[in-house]
C-alpha cells in the first residue's frame, strides 16, 4: 500500500513536472506532504508494476506504449483513480486534450477523498480545457483545484 502511494507520488512528479505543456502547473511537490491514510482496498502489485513501466515509457516519449500499459492496468483495477489520472496525462501528452479531460473526469469520480490527487487532476482538466479553447471551463476547473488544495 505504502509502496504504491510513494509510487504514485513519484509518478506524478515525473509525469507532470517533466512535461512541457504542463509546466504551468505549480510545483506542488506532492512528495513533501504526508500521504493521508486511505481506507481503499490495496492495489494489486500487478498494477504497481504496470504503472512503473508506463512511467518509463512515457518518460522515454513512447506515449502509445504508456497508454497501452495503463489501459491494461485499468482492465485489472478499474476503480483506481490514479490509473485514469495517469492515462489522462498520457493522452494530454499525445495531444488528445478531449480524451485527457474525459479520463481525468473519470479519475475524479473515483478519487474519493484523496484531495491531493483530485486537486492535481482538476488542474489537468483546466489545462486540457484551455487547450480545447474552453477558457470558461478551464477557469472553473482551476477554481475547483484551488478549493481542493486549500482544504475547503
Amino acid at each position: 500500500m505504502m509502496r504504491y502511494r510513494m509510487l504514485l507520488a513519484a509518478l506524478l512528479l515525473v509525469l507532470l513536472a517533466g512535461c512541457a505543456p504542463l509546466e504551468r502547473m505549480p510545483d506542488e511537490a506532492p512528495a513533501e506532504r504526508p500521504t493521508p491514510p486511505s481506507a481503499e482496498e490495496p492495489v494489486p502489485d500487478a498494477v504497481a508494476g504496470l504503472l512503473s513501466e508506463a512511467e518509463a515509457a512515457s518518460a522515454a516519449g513512447d506515449q502509445e506504449r504508456a497508454a497501452a500499459l495503463l489501459e491494461r492496468a485499468i482492465g485489472i483495477a478499474p476503480d483506481e483513480a490514479v490509473l485514469w489520472h495517469n492515462l489522462a496525462i498520457v493522452r494530454y501528452r499525445q495531444g488528445a486534450y478531449g480524451q485527457a479531460e474525459q479520463m481525468a473526469l473519470r479519475a475524479d469520480g473515483l478519487a474519493g477523498d484523496d484531495r491531493r490527487l483530485r486537486a492535481t487532476n482538476w488542474r489537468l482538466i483546466a489545462a486540457a480545457r484551455e487547450r480545447q479553447g474552453d477558457d470558461a471551463g478551464a477557469g472553473e476547473a482551476e477554481a475547483r483545484a484551488a478549493g481542493l488544495q486549500s482544504g475547503e
Partner: protein, 770 residues
C-alpha cells in the same frame, strides 16, 4: 532456359544429298519438338504458378481472444479457468513438462504458459502455480523459486481467421502455426528427402521401385510432397505416364520458383483429406475441424499422426468408417516418428494408447464464435480493406473472453430449447469499465454463421426505454427525486387525427399514485407516460441520444413505452453508459492489430465521454437495483443472490413479441433478447424469457464486484413513502432514499411536524432495540 540452349546447338550442313534431306527433315522435327516442348513447359509453368499464387495470396488474419490476466484477487473460479485453458489449447497433464500444459488438483492449478508475442511486447513462457478460493485467485507464484508472481497473462486463445468470402470453407494455416510434430511426421512418412531434393527425388523413386518389385505390386508412390502438391492442384485420378511426366516437370518448376517453406505451407493447406457430404476436405486446418472438432494447434501427437496417416488414402483410412485400419496407420506413423528420432519410444507408446479421438461427423462443422468474428470484421472494415484482412496474415487482438462466451452460448442453447422451438435469442456481454465486448451470440445455434441478431435484429424495446425517461426526469433534481409521487390513474392521449391512446399497466391495475423509483422498478406504464409527458418527449429523446441509442425521425408519446426499435448491441451501449456512471463508450471488439511479424499497426484505445452527471445516473441505477431486489426482476434470485449487486430492466413488447433483459452485475453487463424472427407471439415476457437466459448465463460468470459507490453529490435521506416528503428515522414506515445533495424535498411529512421530543426518543429506542 535449358531448351533455348538446345535449340542453338543444332546447325550442321553438308554430307550427301539424300541424307542431307533426311537430316534437314529430322532437324525440323527436332526443332519443332523442342519448340513444342518449350511451349508446353512454359504453359505448365504458367499453370502451376497461377495455381500456386491463387492458393498462396490469401493468408487470412489470425484472430485472438483477450489474454487471461492472472493476479492475486482476480475473480476466477475453477470452471472459468478450465474453460479459458481449454480455449487456449492447454492440455491437462499429471506433471508439467512443457508449455501449453496444466495440472489441477481441486482448487490448485499448475500452468506452464507459452511464450507469446503481444502487440505490446513479448511474454515469456513461465510456470505458474495458483490457488483459487471463494471465486478469486488466492495465491499466484512460481513453483520453482517459490516467489510470488504479481501479474501473468496466458497466451490468448486463437479464435479463428478472417477469410475471403469464396474460401470461407477453408481453414488456412500458416506454417509456423502448424504443430511441429505434424510437420515432422509428414516428412518422415511422405517425403524424407523434402528439405534437399529439387522437386523430384531419384532416390525416392528408386526406393519405391525396389519396394514395388519386392512386393510384386505398387506399394509405394515415390512422389515427393511437391509432386503431390502439383497433383492436388489438378486433381485428376488417371495415372498415365504422360501425366506423371507433366507432374514431375511442374514439380521442378515449382521448386525453382518458390521456397521449401512456401511449398510446404501450400501443401498443408491443399492436401486432400476426406469428403464431407457437400464438399471436399482440403488442408489440415479444415481436416482437424472435420475429424476432431478442434483447431489444428490443439491436437495432440496421436491426433496429428492420424491426420498425417490419412494423407495416403483418406477414404481407405477414414477413421470413422474404418477405425481399425486408421489406428494401424496412425501407429505406423508414430513408429516412423520414433525411427527418425523425433519421438521417444515412451512418447510413442503413450500416443499409441490414446483413442482415435474422432468426433461424429457434423459435430465440429461449425466455426467458433462466428457472431463475434462478424463484429470484429465490421469494426476493422473502418480501417482496413477487405483484401488486407484476408490476405496479409495480420494478427488481430480482440476483447473476447472465451469462458464468458461459452457461458453465454450454453445459456442460450439450453434456455431456447425450453422456451420453444421457434424462439430465437441473442446476447451481448460488455465490460462496463472500458466498453470491451466480452461475448456475443447471434442466435440459438451459436456455432453457425447466419443472421447476426445481436447486431442486426432491430426490434421494439418495450420497457427497456424507461430508464431514459426516468433519467430525463432525475436530471431535473429540483423537480424530481426517487421519492416523488407519480400519478397512476387512467390517462387518455389524443393525436392530431383524433386517435386516442389509453396506456395501461401490464396487470391492468391502477394504483392511485406510486413513488418514482417504484414506478421504474415495477415497470408501471401509466406513471411512466405521465412522467415522460411532464418532462417532455424532447428531453427523453435527448437522453436517448446521449445514452448512445438510435433516435427515430419522428417521435410519438408511445416512444415512452418503448415503441422504438433498437438492436441488442445498441441496448448494450446505452446500458453501459448507465452502468459506468454516465460515461458513454464506443463498444470495442478489437484492442490492436499487428502485422504477421508482430509489428503494431493499429491500437484501438479506450475512449470515454461523460454524457451525464454522475448523480442522476446513480439514482436511476438505484431504482434498477430495486427492480431486481423487489420489482420485475425478482426472479433472478433463482440464479444469483439477491444482495443488491445487480441492476436490471425487463422489457416486453405487445403480444409478447419481444422479450428483453438488460442488466449489470459488478463490471459485467449483459443484454439478452428473445423472440421469433417473424415477430410472432412467443408467449414470453421479459422476465419469463430473456431474463432466464441472463440469470443462467451470469450465474457462471465471475465478476469483479465493487460496492456501488455513491458519487460525491449524493446524500441519503429519510422519506415518508405516503407523501413523498421528508421524514425522519423515527417515522412509521419511513424509507431511506438517495437524493442529489440539497434536492431532497424541503417540506416535512406530517409525522415530523407532529411528533414531539418524546416521540422522537421513542422512535430512536425502537430502532435501537429491534
Amino acid at each position: 532456359m535449358a531448351r533455348r540452349r538446345a535449340a542453338n546447338g543444332k546447325r550442321k550442313p553438308r554430307r550427301r544429298q539424300g541424307r542431307w534431306h533426311l537430316r534437314r527433315w529430322l532437324l525440323g522435327v527436332v526443332v519443332l519438338g523442342v519448340l513444342v516442348s518449350a511451349a508446353h513447359v512454359a504453359w505448365l509453368d504458367h499453370r502451376v504458378s497461377t495455381e500456386f499464387e491463387g492458393k498462396r495470396w490469401a493468408v487470412p488474419a489470425r484472430v485472438y481472444a483477450r489474454p487471461l490476466e492472472l493476479h492475486v484477487g482476480r475473480p476466477l473460479d475453477a470452471q472459468t479457468l478450465l474453460a479459458e485453458l481449454r480455449a487456449a489449447g492447454y492440455r491437462p497433464v499429471e506433471r508439467l513438462q512443457g508449455p501449453g500444459q496444466y495440472t489441477r488438483s481441486g482448487q490448485r492449478f499448475g500452468i506452464h504458459t507459452r511464450a507469446f508475442r503481444f502487440w505490446d511486447g513479448r511474454e515469456p513462457a513461465q510456470r505458474l502455480e495458483l490457488q483459487l478460493a471463494d471465486g478469486h485467485v488466492a495465491t499466484l507464484h512460481d513453483p520453482r523459486s517459490g516467489a510470488g508472481v504479481d501479474l501473468a497473462r496466458l497466451d490468448p486463445a486463437p479464435i479463428g481467421g478472417l477469410y475471403p468470402a469464396h474460401r470461407e470453407d477453408r481453414i488456412l494455416v500458416q506454417l509456423e502455426e502448424v504443430p511441429r510434430p505434424l510437420v515432422e511426421a509428414l516428412l518422415a512418412v511422405e517425403d524424407r528427402g523434402f528439405p534437399d531434393h529439387f522437386g523430384i527425388s531419384p532416390t525416392g523413386i528408386a526406393r519405391a521401385l525396389v519396394a514395388n518389385l519386392q512386393a510384386g505390386r505398387i506399394v509405394q508412390g515415390g512422389s515427393t510432397l511437391t509432386q503431390q502438391l502439383v497433383k492436388n492442384f489438378f486433381l485428376n485420378a488417371d495415372r498415365t505416364l504422360w501425366r506423371k511426366a507433366n507432374e514431375a516437370v511442374m514439380a521442378v518448376l515449382l521448386e525453382l520458383r518458390y521456397s521449401k517453406a512456401e511449398i510446404l505451407e501450400a501443401y498443408l493447406n491443399e492436401v486432400y483429406l476426406g469428403q464431407a457430404p457437400s464438399r471436399a476436405i482440403h488442408g489440415f486446418g479444415l481436416a482437424s475441424r472435420f475429424y476432431f472438432g478442434e483447431p489444428l494447434e490443439r491436437l495432440d501427437v496421436a491426433e496429428q499422426a492420424l491426420l498425417v496417416g490419412m494423407v495416403k488414402g483418406p477414404s481407405h483410412y477414414n477413421p470413422r468408417r474404418h477405425p481399425e485400419r486408421a489406428r494401424a496407420r496412425r501407429d505406423l506413423v508414430l513408429d516412423r516418428m520414433v525411427a527418425v528420432g523425433y519421438l521417444s519410444p515412451a512418447e510413442a507408446r503413450a500416443a499409441r494408447a490414446a483413442p482415435l479421438g474422432v468426433i461424429e461427423e457434423g459435430g465440429g462443422a461449425g466455426r467458433d464464435y462466428p457472431a463475434f468474428l462478424d463484429l470484429v470484421r465490421r469494426h476493422l472494415q473502418r480501417d482496413y480493406r477487405a483484401e488486407d484482412l484476408t490476405s496479409e496474415g495480420l494478427r488481430i487482438f480482440t476483447t473476447l473472453a472465451p469462458a464468458t462466451q461459452e457461458q453465454a452460448e450454453a445459456a442460450i442453447i439450453r434456455r431456447t430449447a425450453e422456451l420453444g422451438s421457434d424462439v430465437q435469442a441473442a446476447a451481448v456481454v460488455v465490460d462496463t469499465d472500458d466498453g470491451e465486448v466480452r461475448a456475443l451470440v447471434g442466435g440459438r445455434e451459436p456455432r453457425f454463421e447466419g443472421f447476426n441478431r445481436a447486431l442486426d435484429a432491430s426490434r421494439p424495446v418495450g420497457s427497456l426505454i424507461k430508464p431514459a425517461v426516468y433519467l430525463a426526469a432525475l436530471e431535473r433534481s429540483d423537480a424530481y427525486g426517487l421519492g416523488t409521487r407519480l400519478e397512476d390513474r387512467p390517462v387518455t392521449l389524443q393525436n392530431e387525427s383524433g386517435q386516442e391512446w389509453r396506456p395501461q399497466n401490464y396487470d391492468g391495475e391502477f394504483r392511485g399514485d406510486v413513488a418514482l423509483w417504484e414506478a421504474l422498478a415495477h415497470s408501471y406504464n401509466v406513471p411512466t407516460v405521465r412522467l415522460g409527458l411532464d418532462v417532455g418527449l424532447r428531453a427523453t429523446v435527448d437522453v436517448m441520444r446521449r445514452l448512445g441509442l438510435r433516435v427515430p425521425d419522428t417521435v410519438y408519446p408511445s416512444l415512452l413505452l418503448g415503441a422504438v426499435e433498437q438492436t441488442p448491441i445498441d441496448i448494450a451501449r446505452a446500458y453501459t453508459t448507465l452502468a459506468s456512471g454516465g460515461y458513454r463508450m464506443p463498444l470495442r471488439s478489437v484492442r490492436a492489430v499487428t502485422t504477421a511479424e508482430g509489428e503494431a499497426l493499429n491500437r484501438y484505445p479506450l475512449s470515454v465521454e461523460r454524457a451525464f452527471a454522475p448523480e442522476p445516473v446513480f439514482l436511476v441505477n438505484h431504482a434498477l437495483r430495486r427492480a431486481v431486489t423487489e420489482g420485475t426482476a425478482r426472479g433472478l434470485g433463482r440464479w444469483l443472490p439477491a444482495d443488491g449487486s445487480i441492476a436490471g430492466k425487463t422489457g416486453t413488447t405487445d403480444d409478447n413479441r419481444d422479450s428483453w433483459f438488460a442488466g449489470y452485475r459488478g463490471d459485467t453487463l449483459a443484454v439478452v433478447w428473445a423472440g421469433r424472427d417473424d415477430g410472432g407471439d412467443t408467449g414470453l415476457t421479459g422476465s419469463s424469457g430473456a431474463m432466464t437466459v441472463w440469470g443462467e448465463m451470469m450465474a457462471g460468470v465471475p465478476v469483479r464486484r465493487s460496492p456501488p459507490r455513491p458519487p460525491e453529490g449524493i446524500e441519503v435521506v429519510w422519506i415518508d413513502p405516503a407523501s413523498g416528503r421528508r421524514a425522519a428515522a423515527y417515522c412509521e414506515g419511513a424509507v431511506q432514499l438517495p437524493y442529489v445533495e440539497g434536492a431532497a424535498p424541503g417540506a416535512a411529512a406530517p409525522c415530523v411536524e407532529e411528533s414531539n421530543v418524546v416521540d422522537r426518543a421513542a422512535g430512536w429506542f425502537r430502532r435501537w432495540l429491534d
